[in-house]
């Protein structure tokens, strides 16, 4: 059993959990994720390692309630435990010194997984410019954390309630327009967002890394459910990724595949609502 040591609602429907998992914390690196199950009949769902504390032996998860499993997870309280927690999974982000200027883009909940990467980039001595995007000011998360490790932070909101009005790509364009020399972009967020970032950087020839979130089952390379088309190769996001060269990713198929279980997901959500979240 894995205990929830801290629970905090960052903004409506977005939660911060610190989970006790000392061995995972010891090995965790930026860019990796875990797979968890809330209870004995639960689904295996992947969540990014948003932070880790090797001394305290904890892993921080930031998740958004979207369906049955995340709803059940959100219904847990401090001191409660979840049954399964496996990781760290996936390849760590490639981070080293002298990479130059890195633009780290997080859209919505994607800010959480981009944070440890941005921090590691910063710690390696690179120049980090962060772009955070959200629908509106109230649901923006991690702003202080991101400011603490970035040389500069740009914010974009759909409704213009904070920062520039528009998308993360609007902010990216501002950087380009002012002549910022960008060596790499790392973008994490919804599929549509990552695709627009990739389309924006492609003509400029800026290397762009994206972290993909296909539906997963085991997270160890056993089921092939997380396969994505990267260039002319089929890759398993859980072992080969989750990060890939964005210019090679087939986003259409990725986004289409993430809708494969839509009707069932709706049914599962109704089910947990009806029978109660504690089960």
């Amino acid at each position: 059993m894995f205990k929830i040591l801290k629970k905090q609602e960052l903004s409506p429907g977005i939660f911060h959990y610190d989970i006790e998992a000392p061995r995972v914390a010891k090995k965790a690196q930026a860019g990796q994720f875990i797979v968890l199950r809330v209870d004995e009949d639960g689904e295996r769902i992947p969540l990014t390692i948003a932070d880790f504390d090797r001394e305290a032996g904890t892993i921080t998860l930031i998740f958004q309630v979207v369906g049955a499993s995340t709803k059940m997870l959100a219904a847990k309280n401090e001191g409660d435990s979840i049954v399964d927690f496996a990781g760290p999974l996936g390849q760590p982000s490639e981070i080293h010194e002298n990479m130059g200027t890195i633009v780290c883009i997080g859209g919505g909940i994607g800010v959480a997984p981009v944070y440890p990467i941005a921090r590691a980039m910063h710690e390696a001595g690179n120049k980090v410019i962060s772009i955070m995007g959200a629908k509106t000011k109230d649901i923006l998360i991690f702003e202080d954390k991101m400011r603490a490790i970035s040389d500069e932070v740009l914010i974009a909101t759909d409704d213009g309630s904070y920062g520039v009005k528009g998308f993360v790509t609007t902010a990216l364009q501002q950087l380009v327009d002012r002549g910022e020399k960008i060596d790499q972009v790392t973008a994490i967020g919804p599929g549509v967002m990552m695709r627009s970032v990739v389309e924006a950087t492609r003509p400029l020839g800026i290397k762009t890394i994206v972290s993909l979130n296909p539906v997963m089952v085991d997270g160890t390379g056993m089921c092939g459910g997380c396969r994505v088309q990267v260039g002319d190769e089929m890759k398993f996001a859980c072992v080969d990724g989750p990060e890939f060269d964005g210019h090679l990713v087939d986003f259409d198929s990725l986004m289409s595949r993430s809708r494969m279980f839509r009707p069932q997901e709706a049914q599962a959500k109704d089910h947990v609502c009806n029978i109660g979240l504690g089960r």
Binding site: D41, G224, Q264, Q267
Partner: protein
């Protein structure tokens, strides 16, 4: 006494009924039938059957005990060489192994060795005997086993009985390997058999840690270093699904057999939404492949409610690698065999879902390296099969996570770990390996046998070091 030339029939659920439920198909012999079947055994001086069994179970001896109705003695004899008889009695390809060589098979049908093995194993499990925990010595040496499939489980059991403190590290949240995630409930009940075998091992004193992915949570070097293990057995199986790399494999409605079976068996999607993992099944399903895995996926599809289920296989019936019994069961249940056909493309609709499978007809040409006649495409014979779900069951390769994080442990060009056939020793001192990770996808009994061999070799190795 006149010889009975036919095997006693296995009581089974009616095909029409069972094709829609997940309960076990074969119901097992009762005592009288078991004894009557045992009577058919001639107790041969040179028992050919034994040579056919990969672990050389003493078949005539255990069958002799069944004749005497001494079922406890029978199971003890089997367990000398096979630690998972309730499993092997159910899933061994007996017609290619023990029963293939049975003398009774020359004129009539061979003795139902597998069925008898299952009978005594079930008899013992039903007795629910108390298992005495092993008293380990204070300074007992420690062995780590990676992977809780049949290979790892049998290695761990044998080592524990020799007095070693064993911890099994399993990546998934449940032990059992393919027995838990791959082979369906209706062939191998999970709670009744697999979980029981695992629990018995734990009662004996073997520690099982789930959610423990070797190569990620710790490396083999760390196991033998700071984690204090004296030897390691790697039994990580062949769990990496192959795809055909034809157009359309990323469409919605396409699964690997591993994903499909894992959702259904391990995650119990057949009981959705009580179990929260979903599975989407269409009306018409094509399963590509001809092995046990393909039969399992096809029969699972029927049980999930598909109307038409096709096996698409590029060779002919004679070359189907699946167990004869499973092919027979599949046909009885209404699986349609599209033999000598090879998929060339999966066709999609405007929403990204499968709407058909384009195949080409094949004919058998000259024998290839495996001795089987090679299928050759008949030019211009393409046709479309009207399906909305495609399951790829064309084989599995080795998962590279452990090998790629273990310097000094060599693999061959296919990625399988190189290990000595007799001792299972790898090229890295103190590290042994066996089962599907060494041989490529094979059988439960071979994986189990390798675990036993390795346990003996690890014992010898650790004694020599002391």
């Amino acid at each position: 006494m006149a010889l009975v030339m036919e095997k006693h029939k296995m009581p089974e659920q009616d095909p029409k009924v069972r094709a829609r439920n997940f309960q076990e198909v074969a119901l097992g012999y009762d005592e009288d039938t078991a004894v009557a079947e045992a009577e058919r055994c001639l107790n041969c001086k040179v028992p050919k059957c034994r040579q056919g069994c990969p672990v050389q179970v003493n078949i005539p001896a255990f069958i002799g005990k069944i004749k005497e109705r001494d079922f406890d003695a029978a199971i003890d004899i089997i367990k000398e060489s096979n630690s998972l008889p309730a499993v092997c009695g159910r899933v061994c390809p007996q017609e290619n192994q023990c029963e293939k060589h049975c003398i009774m098979g020359i004129k009539g049908e061979p003795v139902g060795i597998g069925r008898l093995e299952r009978f005594v194993a079930d008899y013992q499990l039903a007795k629910n005997e108390e298992i005495k925990p092993i008293q380990f010595a204070e300074d007992a040496q420690k062995v780590a086993v990676i992977g809780a499939g049949p290979s790892g489980l049998s290695c761990a059991g044998d080592l524990a009985k020799m007095g070693y403190k064993v911890t099994i590290f399993e990546a998934l949240h449940v032990a059992g390997g393919v027995l838990s995630y791959g082979i369906p409930e209706f062939r191998l009940p999970k709670d009744k058999i697999v979980r029981r075998e695992v629990e018995n091992l734990q009662k004996l004193g073997v520690t099982i840690e789930v959610n423990a992915i070797a190569g990620r949570l710790f490396t083999v070097d760390e196991l033998m270093g700071e984690m204090g293990f004296d030897a390691v057995y790697v039994g990580t199986g062949a769990g990496l699904p192959h795809f055909m790399h034809i157009p359309g494999e990323n469409l919605n409605g396409v699964y690997s057999s591993n994903e499909f079976l894992t959702r259904c068996n391990l995650m119990k999607a057949y009981d959705f939404p009580n179990h929260l993992t979903p599975i989407a099944i269409g009306k018409n399903v094509a399963v590509v492949g001809g092995g046990n895995v393909a039969m399992d996926a096809a029969r699972t599809s029927l049980r999930l409610g598909a109307e038409n289920v096709y096996i698409v296989y590029r060779r002919s019936e004679a070359e189907l690698p699946a167990r004869a019994e499973e092919v027979h069961h599949a046909k009885e249940e209404g699986i349609q065999f599209k033999l000598l056909n090879n998929p060339v493309e999966i066709l999609g609709d405007e929403n990204g879902w499968v709407k058909g499978l384009k195949c080409i007809k094949m004919e058998l040409g000259e024998p290839d390296a495996s001795g089987r006649r090679r299928p050759v495409a008949i030019e211009g014979s393409e046709f479309e099969l009207d399906v909305d779900t495609v399951i790829m069951a064309i084989g599995n390769g080795p998962n590279p996570i452990v090998a790629s994080t273990t310097p000094g442990m060599e693999t061959n060009k296919r990625g399988n770990i190189i290990a000595d056939e007799e001792t299972c020793a790898t090229t890295k001192e103190g590290v042994f390996a066996g089962g599907d990770i060494v041989t490529g996808a094979a059988t439960v009994i071979l994986a189990m046998g390798a675990g036993k061999k390795a346990a003996a070799a690890i014992d010898a190795y650790l004694k020599s070091k002391k």
